[in-house]
Structures are given as structure tokens and as C-alpha cells.
Symmetry: D2
Subunit: 293 residues, 4 copies
């Protein structure tokens, strides 16, 4: 269970959402709150209360100089990283993704840290494909052979990204993400995996944010990871007791709100089973994920 | 707030206490339980419930080949470290110290990870010298000039170790540790520091364990960090639901018991204000810390 | 271009070959000498004289407690690692592999550090499959589906290991390694790769060392990476000007001799195109690699 | 022996000097060339040809947003760091310092990586105070008590920086650096250290570069580390065979030129025993270091 955020709007220094809010992403690296884990088989491994720690790596990707994409990833925890604080204070961007990782039993490597970046797209994920080790080979085989060698890590998240790229992410983001979800669900059925595929994801080309919230519909009681988007003016309470105003055009999508106490008016839940597209100066457009049967 | 353990007895693989118990030191790295923090000014920084994470480094030191002392330290968290699991499975010792670090606001460096090793002695600490930045210079000046260049990090813990070495740790461990505590308390008085010096410490030459529990007596309501020692036969419940028996001569001293559910019969609290000396095959001897006035 | 060594014989502390000789593996991490690179296209990238640095990671695997295999890997360079020096001084083994990595343009990750360990076997490699990114997908597809999810990194070396495991390494090491070489060569032909596959490899189950030296025979002038084995009594000159005697039954296989000045009497070259099997107390047996056409 | 560079001029992306030139700082991390080491006692430790590797860490500090100073440091080698390449491509600055570290026998820690930053000043060093462990205590005692707790590492370089800060770096950079050199030389005399203090240093407040080149004058044959500054228009040959032009107002000071083949017309040596001050749009001003006797 990881935590992520994505920002679109007038350029701001990254620290305005990564560091300064009283429940910033750095704070969530040490103690996340909004977690639905009671039915997750992995919860038992670490006992419920241990899961809130997202200390297995950090990453950020952003629209940078001349439309290129910048990327920074580290395996050390976010909370005490001096590099992270300095970079967040110095780098400004109008479109960025950031992620803190929890990888119980997983592989700790810079290459497994989100966001992943390839071909002008950034991508991050919270959740998991349960039973991934049984599905990994066939899912990876469906990755475009030209893209296959660019896979550097061994995570389910990176496999999802390369499937989406193979299915046309650049041309049709909503369609490509839908096909990726369908492909994973098919693999689950083919292999008889009964535990759910759970995901919140964000893909971006630096101009728009495409987000997804999903849980396998065949698993009774399974819940998707949480996902919220900001609605209306966003004034965030800061760690020093003050308040900061984000630009009027700021759009934020987050695993959990950046404030310890928050209102459902300003942080709205993204519905499970939908894909949302956020573009500058427009209201987000949500589409239901319909899997062809 | 860190967590540590120390073992003395017939040689065992380190994993028997670091990894296998259901509340092993690795488990404590992700979620420690026995914490007294309500009056600690540093608690506010991270909010109480965030403090149980000890993810800022790990270390172990042990009596090794031919009486030499081995040491391994890393800044990455203990919980998912493959190296740690392998080393704990392969290395056997009859005397070792292990430590998981929480360093809110501190400096993340291998050199600041415990246990420290110098001149045939190992040393580890949980707690803090409040106001250390104001006291550091004068305390460090009292370190023997011949030892001074061996200080590699910048922590209060390492300063305490080198003070104890300077005050005769090798010849008179109980006396040296007492003089170190007295020196720190004097510095607090000289500088008017009102927040307490809190410590559980363990020093060892590979043949004995010398442990200390302390809190500044002038601070009303201040509590020492927790410290327990095993009493009688130790059978530990393991993470896989079984039970393992440590050797009959095993002596364990721990920040908190290695079991999620434990009995005060088998885990006895070390009294605040005392130094305990544990030797093979003998009952521990406790001495009150009396500061000359 | 990496450097490795493998040891079989009476148990010794790892430091006797990793640290103490005057051209130990640690020394080779900073400045390797025996390199044939003039015809290698990758040499141009870093200019010939830059290549001797093997600073992209270190690893060791060894036959440990109760016949299990221990493993330690790190991405930091070997030369100044305190952990490495401590572990090498404390761990004794009668069968171990050690490796320092040079990965120009490659992916720096603990998971890409050698030796790899799976199913009771250790494996390490020096050299490269030129054009690997074009061959990777089909080679990986030939890995046994049950083994596929255990691949953690993205290197050509790990692919070779899992191919050999898939081809029966445990039952028939010489046959499995031969089939692996044949499979890689076939992939080169199928894809029209003209640059050579170059390799020295070592596989071990803790009881024997199976080593291989290879270069694609179709590439005029291409040379295999160097490989030597010790012959007769081995007395190594040490970094402090002394000399240490290894046990009489010691067998060493190395990318380059562990001494700055050495004799071809005591360090014999392994012939290109052969596989050598080293067993305790026996003379090594060499077999030519014959690829079925 | 480390390598560093400093830039002052119109803002450029850091990669223009860190990555793109054919002997960029990244290239120098793997193979530096201009080294005077024959008389240095430390050379024997690693043999002359091994010394060119600067793989013990990397760092950069720059004038950033709103006049603040940014800082990034890592212990992993520069040459294969993806983070470094990304940051160098994205961050632009008109004043920055960058450093690759070689620390034979030293302590590998982020806190020992240059540039150091404190109180609006950046600082980096190449060279060493021979016999530092004997001098460290008294030199550190001369650091202003208010600055003392900010020392995080254990290197001679950081001690020099804090001495310079204590001696008035902010008010009188040339005077403060001169007093720092004098203080170190006095300590050498007091302790009878016969091996030289060797240094090239750069201090900057983001508006000017103050550089220093020094070797103890009492040691016959001792040579200062190399130091060059650019003179006139700077067109650098790039790693891909092209050429890039730096801004007309660019001023560069480097341990060695950023080109494999270079002219003494465009890269002029800084005289040993001088301090140079570089300000925007002005010719550098050099002052002899005169130690009061």
C-alpha cells in the first residue's frame, strides 16, 4: 500500500504539496491514514497498524525544461531525506507526480520506485495485482517487444505501465488504461486468482492527468484503494500551523487528503471503476471502466 | 526513539532473536509498541502514533572470530533488507548487540547507526540528550584527545560512548558509565537545559553486557525509555505461530519484549537509575547510579 | 567488464582472498589489469583506460550454516566499504563466489549485483551478451515459467543463470551451461547480432565449482574475458608486504591473479571454449563446449 | 584527491558542464587526468594509477529560487547515476559548485560529500590536511561555538569551511580564507607535521566565486592540486563529437579542464599561493596568500 499525489496547474515549487501541508506526502510516508485493509490478505503479514508506513522508497517526476520530463527516485525513506527537501524547494513545475512506496515482501530498488517514465509519459500506482507472480510472465509477454527491454524493475506496477503503453497510452489514454485493466482481469480469470486486482493509478504526458480507481468486481467486499481530487479553491493547512493557498487553477489528485482534518466539500472521492481526465482550466471528465465481456 | 536488544549465552544464529520471534527486532523496526512519549517535546514533531517507526538505519555488532568484534550497519530500514536476513541466518555469536534507529530530524548516516565499536567495545543507545546541540562542544571536549579523531558521526549517542571510553570503560564499566551520566547531567545544569537526558544503553566487550537505564531526576514526570531483561527459561513465540527455545543460559536485554503478548514473569523491567551487569552463568548484578553532588 | 573469484577448499575467512592479497578483489575493484578490450565496441564509450574501475556494486555468496547459502550484495563500491571488510573478516567458508561489478550504461541495483542465488545454486558472470536488448525477450521466454517470477533484475547475466537453471543446471551442470551458451548463440544468429557473446561464468552448489570461458567463435579477433585457476600450492603476497599460505587443498578461479606479479606456473589460463569442474581434492576436469549444429 | 568545478555567469542547465563536455565532471569521476601525486605519501596506498577514480560520492550546490541555495549530495558514484543526469538536465543556475569525491581510507557518508552549505555559503575542497587526525581536535575547537553543532561529518574539508565561517567568510572572504590557511599551517607547526597541507578550495555566496590554491611552503617539492580558470570565450567539445558554446559571460574554475585536449590559452592555471575572486562581468582579481609570521 503506497501513497501518491498528482498536481496540475500553474507552476509551484514541489514543496508546497510534498513538504509544507500538515499531512503532506512526506508526512504520509511515515503515517498514512486512509487505508482499507481488513480484507486484504497481505494485511495479516504486517498486522493492520503496521501498514501505514511508506518507507520503501520515494520518487517524483515532473514536466520540466522545454517540455522534457524530469525524474528523481531513491530507495531511502522520504521523511528524513535532505535531498528530497532541497529538491522540493528548488524545483517548480505545473505538472508533477510524486509517490512514497510500501513494499512488504517486495524488492527494494530504485528501478521499482514510482513514478516510472517512458516515452514522454509518467506513471504511478497504489495497490497490487494479487497473485502477480503467477501472472507476470503472460502479462509481460503482451508488452510490445520494442518496449520490453525498457522494463528495468520487477514490479506489477511497471508491468501495468508497459501494458498501457503497448495498448496505445499516447494516442488514447482512457482506452489504453481500460484495455490494461481488462488484460489483468483476464489473466486473473485464466489463472483462477480469487484475490482482487486493486489499483489507483495516474498517467501523465505533462499536459493532462489521467487517473484510475479500480478493484476487481468479482471479489465480494473488496475495496479499491482510496483516491480523492480537490474541488474548488484549495487552501492547505501547513505543518507550522499556517495556511497556504495553491494557485486558483490547481488540480490535485491524492491517495489521501494533504490535511489531517479535511472536508468532503474540498476533497471529493473518485468513484471506484472510473477513469478521470484532468486538463488545465477544465472540469475533470470521468468515464466508467467497461470491460468487454 | 530507537529499539535495541543484547544477547549473551551459548552461540545462536542472530536470526533467532532478530527475525524469527513474532515481535522480533525487525518487527519493531516497523512498529514498536512500548513507548513513553507523552511528555517528550520531540513527540509533537511527528505526532505520537508516528513515532513507532524505527526506519532510519540498522546495525549489529558481535563477538566474532578469535575474539574480534564484527560490525554491520546500514542506513536502509531493517524490515525489507535481504542482506540483513541473510547475515542473521549465517552469523552465530554468543554475545551480540543489535539496534534499529529512529532519528526524527537527525542525520541519516551509516556512521550514526548503532552499535558503535571501538577498542574492543560495542555500544548502543536509545533515548536522547535533549538540547544536545548546545552541549555537544563541551561534552566532546571532554573526550580523550587520543580518542577524539575516532568519532565519525555527529550523534549524542556516539559522544556518550566516547565519554565512557575516556572515563575508563575498559577498566571499570560501571564507574565509567556513571561518570558519563554525571558529566551529561552537569552539562545540562551548566547550560540550563530543562528537558531530560533519557537513556537506555548497552556496552559490551564480548564477555559481559553492561546496561543502563536513566532519566534526569530533576524533570518531574519524565520517564526513562523502557528496558527489560529476560528471566528464566525463554521460549519465544515465532512469526509462523510456532515456538523456539533459546539456550538455557541465554540472557536477553531488550527495549521491549520480543513477543507481542508477554508475561512480566519472563520479562522483568530494569529499574530506572540503575546499571546492570550480565555475565555468563550468573545472575545479573544491579547497582544504583549515584551521582556525586 | 567485471572481476570475480571463486574459492573451494578448507574453510578460510573470506578476507584471505578478498582483502589481504596485494591484488585482492577489493584492489581489482579500483584498478583491474588483465583486460582485453581493443575490439569491444563498449570500450569506446569510456575510453580504454577508464574501464578498469569495477565500482558499480559488489557481492559474495557462500556455503554457510547447515549447507544453506549465504548472500550479501551492495551497490556501493567495494574499495572503501567498512561492512565488506568486517564481513570478510568474520565469515568463513569452504566454498564461495565474489564479484565486483562494472556496468557502463547499465542499471545500478542490488538485484543486478552478482552472485545470483536460486534453488541452492550460486552464479556469477563477467562479460556481456552484446545486443542483449534485442535478444532479451526471447531468451527470457525460454526460462521455465515456474522460475520466471524469481528474476528480480534486468541484466543479461541473470538471464543466463535462469536459462541454465531451466536447462537442468542442478542435474547436469556441464550440459546445462552448454545448452545456455548454445541458446544465446542461436539468438544472436536469429537476430543477426555481429558483436560477440563474451563470458566467464561460475556456477556452484556449494560442493563444486563449474566455470566457463567463452567468446562467440564467429567474430574474428574477439577475445574471451580472462580466466585463471590456481595450480599447486598457493602462497599469496599480501598488501602489507608479507605472504599468506592458503590451505593445501585450496582451489581458486579468478578473472585475474590476486597478485600484482605472478607466475604462469601458479596461475594457469582456462582455455577459451571450455567448461571446468572443480571438486574437493581432485584435479579439475575440462570439457570443450561443443555446440550442436 | 577529488575533482571539482565552479560556474558563474548567465544561467545554464547544469548538464552543460557536468555531463555534456568530453571530459565533463562525470567523466572525471571515472578517470581524472591532471594529478600531481608522486611525492604524496597517500599515493603509495593505492598506487599511482588507481588514484584517478573519484567514486566516493558526488555533490552539487547552486544559487536557486529566490536567492536560496539548493544542495544535492549522494554517496553513489556520479558516472552511472540516473538521478544526477536528470537533475543536471532540469536544474538551471547562474552560480553553482560541483564535486566528485575520492576518499581513500576515508569515511563514506552523504555528510562528507561536498559542497558543504551553511549560512548562505557553499564550499568545496580538493586536497587534504596531512596528519589531520592529530590536528582535528584543536582545529575544531577554534570553530565558533555557535557554529560547532552544525558540523555533520568528520572530514578535514568541512573543518576548513567552518574555520573560514568562524573567521568571517561572509564579511571578508579573502581575509577569512587566509586566516583559515594560516590556522592550519600553525597547527601543522605546533604538532610537527612534515607532510603538506594541500588545497584547492572554492567558496561562494551565490554572487561571487572565491577560489584558493595552496600547498604548505615548507615542504620541498610538494605541489598544490591543479586549478584552472577559463579565459575568453569557452566552446567545449562534447562527448558526442560536437561543440557547445557557453554564455559569453561564463566563468569556470576547474580542477582540470573539461576537455580531453585543451589549450593553455583558454584554460589558465591559477597560481599556487593565491586567492582569486570572480564576479559577474569582471576580470578575476588574484591576491597572494601572505601568512603573518
Amino acid at each position: 500500500m503506497c501513497r501518491w499525489l498528482a498536481y496540475l496547474g500553474s507552476p509551484i515549487p514541489l514543496e508546497d504539496v510534498l513538504v509544507r501541508p500538515n499531512h503532506s506526502l512526506i508526512d504520509q510516508s511515515l503515517l498514512a491514514r486512509n487505508l482499507y485493509l481488513p480484507h486484504d490478505p497481505r494485511a495479516a503479514q504486517f498486522r493492520r497498524s503496521a501498514f501505514p508506513t511508506n518507507g520503501d522508497g520515494f520518487g517524483v517526476a515532473w514536466r520540466g525544461r522545454g517540455g522534457t520530463i524530469g525524474q528523481y527516485r531513491q530507495i531511502e525513506p522520504a521523511w528524513d531525506s535532505q535531498n528530497l527537501r532541497h529538491l522540493a524547494a528548488q524545483i517548480e513545475s505545473g505538472c508533477f507526480l510524486a509517490h512514497v512506496r510500501a513494499a512488504p515482501g517486495g524488492t527494494i530498488a530504485e528501478q521499482n520506485c514510482h513514478p516510472f517514465v517512458h516515452g514522454g509519459w509518467m506513471f504511478q500506482h497504489n495497490g497490487e495485482i494479487n497473485g502477480f507472480s503467477a501472472l507476470k510472465r503472460e502479462l509481460t509477454l503482451d508488452v510490445d517487444p520494442g518496449l520490453y527491454p525498457s522494463i528495468l524493475g520487477n514490479s506489477d506496477s511497471e508491468a501495468c505501465f508497459y501494458l498501457a503503453l503497448s495498448f496505445g497510452l499516447a494516442e488514447d489514454p482512457v482506452g489504453a488504461l481500460t484495455r490494461m485493466v481488462a488484460r489483468v482481469e483476464q489473466a486473473r480469470r485464466d489463472r483462477g486468482v480469487t484475490a482482487p486486482f486493486r489499483a489507483t493509478m495516474c498517467a501523465s504526458d505533462g499536459a493532462q492527468l489521467v487517473v484510475l480507481r479500480w478493484v476487481s468486481p468479482d471479489v465480494a467486499g473488496a475495496q479499491a484503494p482510496t483516491l480523492f481530487h480537490s474541488a474548488g479553491a484549495t487552501a492547505l493547512r501547513t505543518i507550522d500551523g499556517g495556511e497556504e493557498r495553491l494557485p486558483p487553477d490547481a488540480q490535485l489528485i491524492v491517495s489521501e487528503p494533504l490535511e489531517l482534518h479535511w472536508s468532503a466539500h474540498t476533497w471529493q472521492e473518485v468513484a471506484t471503476g472510473t477513469i478521470g481526465v484532468f486538463r488545465p482550466g477544465e472540469a475533470p471528465v470521468f468515464t466508467s471502466i467497461e470491460l468487454a465481456v
